[in-house]
Amino acid sequence: MNGKSCVRCGNKAQLKRPKTGELICKECFFVVFETEVHETITSSNLFSRGERVAIAASGGKDSTVLAHIMKVLNDRHDYGLELFLLSIDEGITGYRDDSLESVKRNKEEYQLPLEIVSYEQLYGWTMDAIVAQIGMKNNCTFCGVFRRQALDRGCELLKVDKMVTGHNADDVAETVLMNVLRGDIARLQRCVAIVTHDESGGYIPRAKPFKYTYEKEIVMYAYFKKLDYFSTECIYSPNAYRGFARELIKDLERVRPQCIVDIIRSAETFQFDTVNIRKQVISRCEKCAYISSQKICRACVFLEGLNSGKAKLSVFESEGKTQKSKARRVEEEEKVERSKVSILNADW
Amino acid sequence: MKVKVEFSGGLELLFDKATRLTVDVDEKTTIKDLIAYLKQNHLKEKPELFMSGDSVRPGILVLVNDVDWELLDGADYKVEPNDNVVFISTLHGG
């Protein structure tokens, strides 16, 4: 017999909250989970009434719970937001086509308009075709660059003011550690911001309502709410981002659950010497007018390579270029170190 | 053949506080074999604090006659008679 009772209501406890270790019943778990996200949204002033907000929806657990909770909170607390689902179809047979089906079901269930932007319509290439040409080596680099731009294009289509993503506390903590390990100060500063935006309005602000939400709790919430999500990993990159740092986060969580938020807290209190952060000069890509720090944006460079069949080279060149522009600012010695650090990058 | 082995930096605690041993091993024994031999015959507790896979745990320095083993084929180095193999933990608290 389980005689443990919920710390909030005294009824029979059904789970132990991963974040706090509290014994709690299912109903109270829903309440605290939703309340915490609501508090994050209000205390950070994430939205203003009347805004159009795109929910980046992949069909996976984080974005499915995000779509659900955005809908619930918008109705319950009358945020006055107009919500949209935005999905990217990378063109990966056996993975994205299936996960998009679950996004489509979410669209029906939550009655939210859905926009699907595909790599094929945007770039003329599916990931299947890209992998067929370049193999499995740099495919994630391509995909990342393309997705980032595709999401922005989708936001433009939907004319939204903001986009929310399902990045959770574990993701943020992991990114903090990785940026400390790589010495990437600019990213370190950016990665804990709950809203990232470009001052010149180059892209639509992105917000992370799950910044303080534990991955385990998202999974539990989805499970107990019986939410419909797709849990297969990408076939081209199983275990993507489950590198060293992720493993450490999971181990740390086991010995001390509070570590995850404490890592985030640490990064929030870092003070940055502005001298050390290179200011990105943002201009527009000459080919596609997307924001870029170079004349031609990375996506266009990749595309050019793909179209002329020299894709492998273009990944290399593009990385070489950023390396060079950085190198101009630093001393010779640091350049060497940087190239060493990029080995770390490459592996993660 | 006889080979001398030393432990320090807290590793001695795993070997019944022995700071030095003389072991008798076959010809063509590599450091990797020696590590396995030590585990088999002398390690008293917590092998995970000494070994990782079939080598030593990262953070343990191995010197052969005062030379870093990384300059000597690492775990594949074949020990020679009267070699002095030192295992030093650089890890906190051993």
Partner: protein
Amino acid sequence: MLNHLMQEIVSPHSYRTISFFWSVLYIDIGAAVGLSEEERLERAGQVRDQFASREHGSQKEFYIMPLEYAFRNDGENCVEKMQDYLNSFKQLSAREDALRQLVQTAILNFAQENNFSNVITAESASNLSIRVITEICKGRGFNIPLITSYDDSSTHEGVRILRPLKDKLAKEIAFYNAVEKLKPVFIPDITTGTPLKSSVDRLVEEFISSLQANFPSTVHAILRTTEKLKVPNMQTVFNCVVCNSVLTRDERRSQEEAVNGLHTGDDLTNLQRLGKMSCYGCCRELDFFKSSENCSNLLSSKDDAPQQNKFVSERIAEGKTILEDFPIYVNDNIHKLIRMSREQVKESISEYLIEDQ
């Protein structure tokens, strides 16, 4: 920390060519890690011999500071008191943190009381990079630049900490010691012999060591990151009352509130108030003080307001002054803080009065 500190400080020859007066301080943590009286004496002797055996050794003074000194009090057994204190932290990671703070404070307090202007530590690049990550994991990111600087010239009330070995890898130091036939004295820690994944410090150490084995620039990359962070301004007496770290603006505000909210005759010392006077990291550690392992008392999602810890106070037995369990310096810090705050208030009033006349 301590063993690294002591065992490796012998190595840098260069120091002997510079002429200044220096002494050796050995913090004896033996009672905290369960060594017997004999073992403690034996180790202290070994450490002393280690230093005395160097050429100029005879000129140096050798001090032994038992860690339990921070708990001295008339008629009480300070060894037991310290052990009770450490054991009150119901999690290995928290206990480890408490021990580290005791050692650090012991060093600084010794230096202050005996008019030493500098403390030289043997912290290596490897130790420091591990320390950086553990402090990040414990929510003390704000103070990290102070941990890793060569010379934290922002003073701890007149004492500067110098870290001449901060560029050297633990491996290089161990190699140096081996080649120079130096025999470092091994001093166990509370995690000695515990499983690999038993505490935050152990996990991080294992993580960094494996990473370093695969990517030899790891340790230095971490330290370079910290060098790009702004060093917090230390020109304040209003530090964390437990670990003495510099407070962020939020933390300082909460400390101020806690002090200003005190009335004559108040119990200075419930755990909640202590938490409010501490940094975020220490406040989190206090969650494990005399609580059960299941950390049921953690903060809710409002982590940007760590001091609003409503759970902590409920755990305090009524009428029991929690501060009695803490090292004496925590008590001193609180009293100093209160005095300074009152003086500050008085000063601001008197200024106002003068202007008014």
